[in-house]
Symmetry: C2
Subunit: 232 residues, 2 copies
């Protein structure tokens, strides 16, 4: 129990969950690690290793029962009960998150939205009123909130993270372009979504694919094939 699961494994779990959902919807009852590995483009070995971190969910000669395995992963991820979430920062991104109804299928329910901007306080997003940051502490003490999505500019994010933690939040979904690790005690989980950084990685990959293509095409045409092979 409580075995330390590597970050790499945790990163892959939601993807397994997604593929199993697609299979279940398609009416597939059982699947082998081999077949799943083909669909997901990973090795069957990795799938079996990953799952066995949490227990033996399969059966020799049969494979895995899709519905059962999916339910087990849901439990592992904490999707077997409602997770209430607040959104702190009602800018465009915060509003988009609050509007995204599909989170609810995965147990995540937005129960409050907060902002400092007086002009938008009182507006409603899907029946959820935008409230003033001033009432946030009281809200947290009177409601059962698991997760806070933080969509503020980086200037205000750290300060707000401290307020959240002080008022009992133990999970921060951080969209601000700053690191909270130094701010937040170690019993608080932080998951970063740094969109700018994701975009930069895309830009890097675009660039390096271009360079690779230019290189290989010129290699083939202008170089003796021996050297071209050597560079491959």
């Amino acid at each position: 129990m409580g075995k330390n699961i590597s970050k790499a494994v945790v990163k892959r779990l939601p993807r397994y969950y997604r593929y199993l959902g697609v299979l279940e919807e398609a009416g597939v009852e059982r699947i082998s690690s081999g077949e799943l590995s083909r669909q997901m483009q990973v090795t069957a070995s990795q799938i079996r290793q990953d799952l066995n971190n949490f227990g033996g969910f399969g059966q020799q000669g049969y494979g895995y029962n899709v519905r059962y395995l999916r339910d087990e992963i849901a439990k592992i991820l904490g999707l077997d009960h409602t997770n209430n979430m607040i959104v702190v920062g009602a800018g465009h991104l915060g509003q988009a998150l609050a509007n995204y109804t599909k989170f609810e299928r995965n147990s995540f329910h937005v129960v409050g939205i907060f902002d400092v901007n007086k002009d938008i306080i009182g507006q409603k997003i899907r029946n959820i009123e935008i409230m003033s940051i001033d009432v946030l502490p009281e809200f947290l003490h009177t409601h059962d909130v698991e997760i806070a999505a933080l969509t503020l500019p980086k200037e205000n994010a750290r300060e707000m993270a401290e307020v959240l933690v002080k008022n009992g939040i133990h999970a921060i979904w951080n969209f601000a372009h700053t690191d909270l690790n130094l701010i937040v005690p170690e019993d608080v989980a932080v998951q970063n979504v740094h969109l700018s950084e994701s975009l930069m990685r895309l830009s890097y990959n675009l660039k390096s694919l271009r360079e690779k293509n230019m290189q290989t095409s010129s290699d083939v045409s202008s170089m003796p094939s021996e050297i071209a092979e050597g560079q491959e």
Copy 2:
């Protein structure tokens, strides 16, 4: 040239870039790998190894010039020239991306937004008109577009990815809850932002921190200290 850089390194580059930006704004001229490692909470060794994949940017006995290093990383990431981007899908998330002006500081400019919904076609977001998907191919042939952000429901995402690729897009920023790898040829870069999966990882981490805390607190109180230590 064209050395294959590991994914792990590419993932860290934008974070270096961010920290160097903060340092430059603060007027810091030079920094050693040791000092940067303290601020970023990584090892100095890793910083030096990472940077040396791309060349020797430092100087023995001095460290790294902040402005110079930042500019070099910008070049590596392709931020030294304008990257035009379109947003395909003008839902809440697509609109949030189009509204996010800070991408521009990093060279990313939204030059078009597309949707199928006739009701919103013609509306403007920051001077950028929402256009019909029907005119997308023509737009791509008459404009210089590097990147397409894909913010459609998963049902339409794959089909649209094919259209984008057919019309010359080589970089897709994928927000749809589906994998495009099988759809897209290998000279097209795909960067996934699966928000639901990120949220699930947060939920997992929250859960496992809770379990760990419960465990250690009960260990200390109820077990002989030898065993408690052994489990630490």
